[in-house]
């Protein structure tokens, strides 16, 4: 019964797409620019594109904040001015090294990238998601402020949040960090929920979701740097001894500091792997979903039968991919937090075994 119903729903969804695509294909007769389609969805932008109706783009313009490197001072203006081309000497590069970024013309005519602190799509997404996260967590914390948690247990949303917080704290933080986990618990919990909510919002296909935040290398770089500094600033002296003078045969340390060199490289590869793992996983997830959905548009010119059949496949695969991405959203947040916790735990070895 329920399986038949599911199949029915899928066909209905597929049916919804077909006429639109058929008419669209007749009207526009344009080749789908696959590169633009894929990268346009995952990269940062100066406006938040919502949809396109009959060739007309509907998007939310965002503030552009740039400081000129050619001595023209700071400029703040709406990104909608950039749609027509140059504005106040700034324009979005269409090609070259700074493609899709705001550039200004240098005295010799070369494109120069100004200091660009624009509220881009990702920045706005970060703000919205952070506000949401603050709302959820502070709302949960409020319950505990108003109730005596020793006397009663929360229900509903607070209960779910409590379950998740305890899960992260008990399964990841306590196990991986070790004794003085309490000091690190707020950072690791913040990292987990920050990544998780940004991952989830990235899957939501419409505003205010859909910004590819955790699939952006700058975001994951900052997160990895936070972990890097947490690990290295609070590492104890045993940690530094293990890096600079590890327990290995002396010829591995003197005259050629082979092991210290490897350990020091390791200090940087650990956060680097954190950065790349999160970035690549989320980006790949976005690409996969986009790719599966692109099948519908790519086959639009192949006739109703092929298109209809593949649309069903694409919708089924799309649902599957979205479910997978939900899983990945959680797993990547979990993995990032767990590895950060492990690195922190490694930076605080208890006693030297000598």
């Amino acid at each position: 019964m329920s399986r038949k119903f599911l199949i029915f729903i899928v066909f209905c969804l597929a049916g919804l797409f077909c006429p639109v695509i058929q008419s669209g294909a007749k009207d526009l007769e344009v080749e789908l620019d696959m590169d633009e389609y894929l990268y346009g969805h995952v990269r940062d932008a100066y406006d938040w594109h919502i949809t396109t109706i009959k060739g007309h783009h509907i998007s939310i313009p965002l503030p552009v904040i740039v400081i000129s490197k050619t001595g023209r001072g700071a400029h703040i203006f709406s990104s909608k001015h950039l749609e027509e081309g140059e504005y106040e000497g700034f324009s979005i590069a269409t090609s070259g090294k700074y493609e899709n970024k705001i550039v200004e013309k240098g005295p010799d005519g070369a494109e120069i990238r100004p200091w660009d602190f624009s509220i881009t799509k990702n920045v706005l997404g970060l703000m919205i998601n952070s506000a949401l996260l603050l709302f959820i967590i502070l709302g949960t914390a409020r319950w505990y402020r108003k109730h005596d948690a020793a006397e009663e247990a929360p229900t509903g949303g607070t209960g779910i949040m409590e379950m998740m917080v305890t899960m992260v704290e008990d399964d990841i933080i306590k196990d991986c960090v070790g004794e003085d986990y309490k000091k690190y618990s707020p950072y690791l919990l913040t990292a987990f929920f920050f990544i998780f909510i940004n991952n989830l919002m990235g899957i939501v296909p419409f505003f205010p979701g859909g910004a590819n935040i955790t699939g952006n290398i700058a975001v994951t770089l900052v997160l990895a740097l936070f972990t890097f500094f947490t690990v290295n600033l609070f590492g104890n002296k045993h940690y530094w001894k293990e890096i600079l003078w590890p327990d290995v045969p002396t010829w591995l340390k003197v005259p050629l500091p082979l092991m210290p060199a490897i350990e020091i490289i390791g200090m940087f590869t650990k956060p680097f792997s954190l950065m790349v793992r999160l970035f690549a996983n989320i980006l790949a997830g976005h690409f996969m979903i986009l790719g599966v959905i692109a099948v519908i548009f790519l086959t639009a010119k192949m006739g109703a039968a092929v298109n209809g059949g593949l649309t069903v496949v694409a919708v089924v695969l799309g649902v599957f991919m979205d479910c997978l991405e939900l899983l990945v959203a959680f797993i990547q947040a979990y993995v990032f937090t767990m590895l950060s916790a492990v690195f922190i735990g490694l930076s605080r070895p208890k006693t030297e075994t000598d």
Binding site: A141, Y144, A149, L189, T190, F194, A218
Partner: protein, 169 residues
């Protein structure tokens, strides 16, 4: 490729936003939640421990009760034994006392009897002496009345006295 080159502006914004989120949540968010949950967990653990202790003490109470009953029984037996012993002792003592008393009474009686006997003997002796004297008087009266025997007797008496004097001297 712009995908793998971190954008400086976004980096700054991300650092700022994440920093603020971290600060706020670390100050007012997560510690509140984790501490409360910890408090509840502690309370639950404590309650379980207390329940276990109560159960334990209840079990102990039963055995303690048994011990008390056992002790009381022992005490009872001991008291009974002691009572029996003291009763026996009392009886024994009473017997001894009675025997002593009886002995004493008998002794007294014996002394009294002896005294009585003595006095009776004395009386008898006295009587006998009196009787002898009376008899002797009568005999002497009769003898002295008869002239024939009187001289004889006198002479014998004088002799006797004289001899007893001589002997004394």
């Amino acid at each position: 490729m712009s995908l793998i080159t971190p954008d400086f502006g976004l980096l700054v914004w991300m650092t700022l936003i994440f920093g603020i989120v971290f600060f706020v949540l670390a100050k007012w968010g997560f510690p509140m939640i984790t501490d409360s949950v910890q408090k509840r967990a502690d309370r639950i653990n404590e309650s379980i421990k207390k329940a276990k202790e109560a159960e334990e003490s209840l079990r102990n109470l039963a055995s303690e009760q048994d011990a008390i009953v056992e002790k009381a029984r022992k005490e009872q037996a001991k008291i009974m034994k002691e009572a029996a012993a003291s009763r026996d002792a009392l009886i024994e003592q009473a017997k001894v006392q009675a025997r002593d008393e009886a002995a004493k009474i008998i002794d007294q009686a014996r002394t009294q009897i002896a005294a009585e006997k003595e006095s009776a003997l004395r009386d008898v002796r006295k009587e006998v002496a009196m009787l002898s004297v009376a008899v002797a008087e009568k005999v002497m009266r009769k003898d002295l009345a008869q002239d024939s025997g009187r001289d004889e007797l006198l002479r014998r008496l004088v002799d006797e006295i004289a001899s007893s004097r001589e002997q004394k001297n």
